[in-house]
């Protein structure tokens, strides 16, 4: 990182920041026909929209622009405000909401070109913005090509797909994506947002009634995918693959692994490719981001959860800026022992993404 013009850095990597086009139609300029004319310029998922506000009300840019649409204002309000060294950018293309795999692939690709153009290759002299390659899992072969297209890019650090899906992610139809991730050294990140939207299954029995019900239940989607990754043996098939669970909660992890370990002892017979106790795959292959951090009244309980989940080695700080449920780097966590703090806020992500 070039340190000139950068204010004080506090050794923080924010693993979930959401850049947004200044106008959704900007994305069209990265598409060719016939897609350009068909793209409807609507960034919403259509159902399960937050009834209060989607973005921090104070994140509108000084010129009245969309929250997190201006790289310079994002630096001012987030990176410089808190001394954040790097922001891992995850645009919300919602490419998986389209029933057409061709259209979905084009949308993902256009968002990647826009991200590189506006946030990574330009307006990024300090190199503090790192990008995620959006892929549409409707067409895993096309997704793999898209991943290869970005191989070697200096600021793309991972692949990202929506956790809204038509099948659990351990299944074989997704393997071209994991193969491409592994061969290019990219972790695969999951981010919620299209559960029950478009062709994707809902993670509950039937459709939730309200946003609060849907939003709280997003962790169920993550749990289902993680169980699938492990029981299908994905980490045995792709030993170099790293999985990043973003914004799906984290406190559920320990009891899930206890149960999975217990089930594996008698049922290993059914899944012989799961060669180790399920919980043993986590340290080597899985990282989990903090926001929205569970916040028990007794904050000591949270520290106990950190101990149980091995947060020291697998948890990575994220703020979700500029979204409404932003976690402040200075206010969302209880006081942590210095070493644990350093690992969660900096070292774990630094090692995963090979940052300096």
């Amino acid at each position: 990182m070039k340190k000139s013009n950068v204010k004080k850095l506090n050794d923080i990597i924010d693993c979930d920041v959401h850049p947004h086009p200044s106008d959704y139609n900007v994305i069209k300029s990265y598409m060719s026909e016939p897609w350009r004319s068909r793209f409807n310029g609507n960034g919403k998922r259509g159902i399960y929209d937050n009834p209060i506000h989607v973005n921090r009300l104070d994140s509108v840019t000084p010129h009245g622009g969309y929250p997190c649409s201006d790289p310079s204002y994002m630096r001012e309000q987030l990176l410089d405000e808190y001394g954040i060294n790097y922001a891992i950018l995850l645009p919300r293309a919602f490419a998986t909401k389209y029933p057409s795999p061709d259209f979905a692939t084009v949308v993902a690709s256009a968002f990647n070109d826009w991200l590189a153009d506006v946030w990574l290759d330009n307006n990024n002299e300090d190199g503090r913005c790192k990008g995620s390659i959006t892929v549409a899992h409707q067409d895993p072969q096309a997704a793999a090509k898209e991943i290869d297209r970005w191989a070697g890019h200096p600021h793309m650090v991972q692949v990202m797909m929506d956790s809204g899906a038509r099948a659990p992610f351990g299944q074989r139809q997704y393997y071209p994506i994991y193969e491409a991730c592994e061969r290019n050294g990219f972790p695969i990140a999951l981010h919620p947002g299209t559960e029950g939207v478009g062709p994707n299954e809902i993670m509950t029995p039937g459709y939730p009634t309200t946003y609060i019900e849907w939003h709280t239940g997003l962790m169920l989607s993550f749990q289902a995918h993680l169980i699938s990754f492990i029981t299908e043996g994905v980490f045995e098939r792709f030993p170099g693959l790293k999985l990043v669970l973003v914004e799906g909660g984290s406190a559920w992890l320990p009891p899930l692994l206890w149960r999975l370990d217990a089930e594996w002892k008698p049922l290993r017979e059914e899944v012989p490719w799961v060669k180790k106790r399920p919980s043993e795959y986590i340290l080597e292959h899985v990282r989990i981001t903090s926001q929205p951090l569970e916040n028990p009244d007794n904050r000591e309980h949270l520290l106990q959860m950190f101990e149980m989940m091995d947060a020291k080695n697998i948890l990575m700080f994220s703020s979700d800026y500029p979204h409404w449920d932003f976690d402040s780097p200075t206010r969302s966590f209880p006081k942590l022992p210095e070493e644990l703090k350093k690992r969660i806020f900096f070292e774990n992500a630094r090692a995963l993404y090979n940052l300096d």
Binding site: I52, H53, R56, L57, D58, W324, D325, F326, D327, S328, T330, R331, S332
Partner: protein, 141 residues
């Protein structure tokens, strides 16, 4: 306790607010249907500038009146402040949160409308006719 003129009443219309710095603290004055209230501009949750949130009402169940949980009504229009970050609701008149009124609250300050003693003194030494503005919003911290 000290008093601080923060605005004239014309500056803060109904439904509006004005944020000022008093002794190093960010404090906002709200006009709720012609009455003024002052709140500390810091959310007790994660420190957001709570007073830059949205002002509106709140939706509640009427079951105490009707016995029917499904009947909802929208009350306290213009009296509820929602934090700009996580959307927690606070009653502007009391600073108390809706979900835990006594456990989670924003600090409030006494507000009066009138003229400061210091302004009166200034008015008295003038030897020519002056118009004295008795419409200052004064926050007492």
């Amino acid at each position: 306790m000290s008093a601080h003129v923060v605005a004239s009443i014309d500056e803060v219309g109904v439904g509006q607010s004005k944020t000022v710095e008093i002794e190093g603290r960010s404090i906002s004055v709200f006009n709720v249907n012609g009455e003024f209230y002052a709140l500390r501009n810091v959310c007790p949750h994660q420190g957001a500038p709570v007073c830059s949130g949205s002002v509106g009402g709140m939706t509640v169940c009427r079951e105490k009146n009707t016995g029917k949980l499904g009947e909802v009504e929208f009350i306290k229009k213009g009296e509820i402040l929602r934090c700009p970050w996580h959307g927690w609701e606070f009653d502007i008149k009391t600073g108390k949160s809706i979900f835990d009124p006594d456990g989670c609250l924003v600090k409030t300050y006494k507000v009066t409308v009138g003229i400061m003693e210091s302004e009166k003194a200034l008015a008295q030494v003038e030897t020519y006719p002056v118009t004295v503005n008795f419409n200052s919003i004064i926050v007492h911290t």
